[in-house]
């Protein structure tokens, strides 16, 4: 974590993040964060600590207030009072949560944006807990930072003003009175010590503070694990459902399509056998019918195979497969890809299906003139965005395949967002996580 702050040279800085479930996951941060100049880093940390300091200042009165309300709850007045203080606790905690999340560059929730949230009741306790921790730790941390800043400023500027003060007022960092130019000129050297402490300690303190806040205030602990478990269970059942639907579709396509065609071929050949000598003209006609049925069988078989796993996906990868889809699309279609690398076959097939389905929608329902497909790989996720300039108003109720997209994406723990105001444009955004 700290390496990302202090070290890391160019490229992607890899860092390990401990998740709420105790599992360590590797996370890649893009180039840039590590290169933030030291001054800005310190400045950012100071701003964060200063912001939190305000919350910390409110901490002690708040705790007293909550305790007082609890004590008074035996008489009626305690109940609205308690509600009042809990409201403030919630607001302060909400602010700290947001600050910490912003500082760490993480979300304010560890739950997915598709609606599954941890139980609400674990929060008030954790919030109160955080207020106490912040009052005990955040307050001194803030003062410590303040002391360093003031100390650095005073020491560095001593030579400019020491002589203007009455004797004995100016003191250098080691406690020696500044009484001569020699001590006055040496004092800024001590000031460098403050600066060094500022540069080294403040970002660390801010980081630690933010992590503690984030840890306490987001869906962590048992409730978080339970929430995550609920998500995983839901996504597993989505996966099973999607898989089952897929198997049924394939079985049906093969039995009712391909097999029927072949049965027809066989039946017509049987008839031909009977008629060959008695009615050659009729037999020739039946042979043509049989050949047509055989052609249909082959075409349907290709279609089924393509729907299971498009061969081009195996041969050339997602970018080429999607380009081929775009080329087949009756609408003008531009494809932009960036950062794509080979992903597991099931994931690529899902991405391909999403694009295929979105293009079909644009052609069939949107009345669009142009479609844009964007595929972006970030190492940890695959982002798909399909935009058409059609009439918008797409909804999941009218059987546009959006349900199918959502289900298949959810099976991979991904998320789907459809923005389609009446009048267009329609944007379908899908994020498929590549690594867990």
């Amino acid at each position: 974590m700290l390496r990302a702050f202090f070290g890391g040279s160019g490229g992607e800085t890899e860092r390990t993040v401990e998740t709420f479930s105790g599992v360590r996951i590797r996370n890649c941060f893009p180039r840039g964060e590590a290169a933030v100049p030291t001054a800005r880093r310190v400045g950012r940390s100071l701003r964060y600590l200063a912001s939190c300091h305000l919350g910390a200042l409110a901490g002690w009165p708040l705790i007293c207030g909550v305790l007082l309300a609890q004590g008074l709850s035996v008489i009626v007045v305690g109940i609205p009072l308690g509600r009042f203080f809990r409201g403030i606790v919630k607001r302060v905690a909400e602010r700290d949560r947001r600050l910490a999340a912003e500082f760490l560059g993480r979300g304010t929730e560890t739950v997915r944006p598709d609606g599954i949230r941890p139980p609400a009741d674990f929060r008030p306790w954790r919030e109160l807990c955080w207020i106490a921790v912040n009052a005990a730790v955040g307050l001194p941390a803030g003062f410590f930072a303040l002391v360093l800043i003031v100390g650095a400023a005073v020491s560095l500027t001593t030579p400019l003003w020491w002589w203007a003060l009455p004797e004995g007022i100016a003191v250098n960092p080691v406690g020696k009175p500044v009484e001569s130019w020699s001590t006055a000129l040496l004092t800024p050297v001590g000031g460098l010590g403050y600066v060094a402490a500022l540069v080294l300690a403040v970002p660390r303190m801010a980081e630690l503070h933010a992590r503690t806040a984030h840890g306490l205030l987001t869906a962590v602990g048992r409730a978080g694990v339970a929430a995550r478990l609920a998500e995983v269970t839901a996504s597993r059942s989505e996966a099973l459902e999607a898989h089952g639907a897929e198997l049924r579709r394939i079985e049906r396509d093969l039995h009712d399509g391909t097999q029927n065609r072949l049965v027809a071929v066989r039946m017509h050949l049987g008839l031909v056998e009977r008629m060959l000598h008695t009615d050659p003209d009729r037999a020739a006609e039946l042979i043509r019918t049989a050949r047509g049925a055989a052609d249909d069988a082959l075409a349907e078989l290709r279609q089924v195979v393509r729907s299971i796993y498009p061969p081009i996906l195996a041969d050339r990868g997602l970018a080429s497969a999607v380009s081929a889809l775009a080329a087949r699309c009756p609408l003008p279609c531009t494809v932009e890809t960036a950062g794509l690398s080979r992903a597991p076959a099931a994931l690529e097939a899902t991405a391909y299906f999403v694009v295929a389905e979105a293009l079909t929608n644009a052609v069939k329902h949107a009345d669009a003139a142009h479609v844009r497909v964007e595929l972006r790989g970030t190492g940890t996720a695959l982002h798909i965005e399909v935009t058409d300039d059609g009439k918008g108003g797409a909804s999941e109720e009218d059987g546009t395949g959006l349900v199918g997209i959502r289900r298949r994406v959810a099976a991979f723990d991904g998320r789907t967002e459809v923005v389609s105001p009446a009048g267009g444009p329609t944007v379908i955004r899908v994020v498929l996580p590549c690594a867990s």
Binding site: Q259, V263, M267
Partner: protein, 219 residues
């Protein structure tokens, strides 16, 4: 003979009509879904029906259900069920009413015109026509020691399998290279071992096939 067809695939439906008419059957109707089928059953008075297991709108086992419903309304009404796949369990359901006049064949058999016509005629005459695939599923099954079927000799099992497919004694003797008397003797033994004595009237052959179908499999 008046035949009614229910098959949703256009090409297959037309092919079946052509095939049956070429073979001298009178096709009184060709339905593409269940409601149409039931209408035609009422109106056109067929002697035998040929139904696909899967029909619109649900494409599940509508044909089997229709066959069962038809035979509940008219016991023993000849029905030949065609399917993309066969399951012995389905065959047992179809034959559940102890009456003959049931056929259950893979669609593939339609291409073998002589066999298919033979099967259709047997069904129409109150016999059975079970797909060899169903029979082989049955033969591969393990039998409990106290199962009368376990006491059949290999030859008797062969004869029973051919009976289940719906063949008569002459055809069985031809297929197995046995004399007519030998086949009769095997069949007699099968009836005895399965407890179907000569006082059992009617479809002893069908009952033997049923006995064959109904044994619980042992894993």
């Amino acid at each position: 003979m008046r035949v009614l067809i229910a098959e949703d695939d256009t090409l297959l439906r037309q092919g079946l009509v052509l095939l049956l008419e070429t073979e001298g059957f009178e096709v009184v109707g060709a339905a593409s879904d269940l409601p149409e089928f039931w209408g035609m059953v009422e109106e056109r008075d067929p002697d035998v029906v040929v139904v696909d297991v899967r029909l619109p709108p649900d494409f599940r086992d509508e044909g089997l259900r229709a066959a069962a419903a038809l035979r509940r309304a008219r016991p023993g009404f000849p029905v030949l069920v065609l399917s993309a796949h066969v399951e012995e369990g389905y065959a047992a359901e179809l034959l559940g009413d102890d009456a003959g006049g049931i056929g259950y064949l893979l669609k593939d058999r339609v291409g073998d015109i002589t066999e298919f016509m033979g099967a259709l005629r047997r069904v129409a005459a109150g016999g059975t026509a079970l797909d060899p695939e169903v029979i082989s599923q049955l033969l591969n099954r393990q039998h409990a020691a106290d199962d009368p079927l376990a006491s059949l000799t290999a030859r008797e099992r062969e004869v029973l399998a051919l009976m289940a497919e719906g063949h008569d004694n002459t055809r069985i003797s031809g297929l197995l290279g046995l004399s007519g008397a030998a086949v009769s003797k095997h069949i007699g033994n099968i009836f005895t071992k399965l407890g179907l004595n000569s006082t059992t009237t009617g479809h002893r052959r069908v009952l033997a096939v049923l006995a064959f179908l109904r044994r619980e499999s042992v894993c």
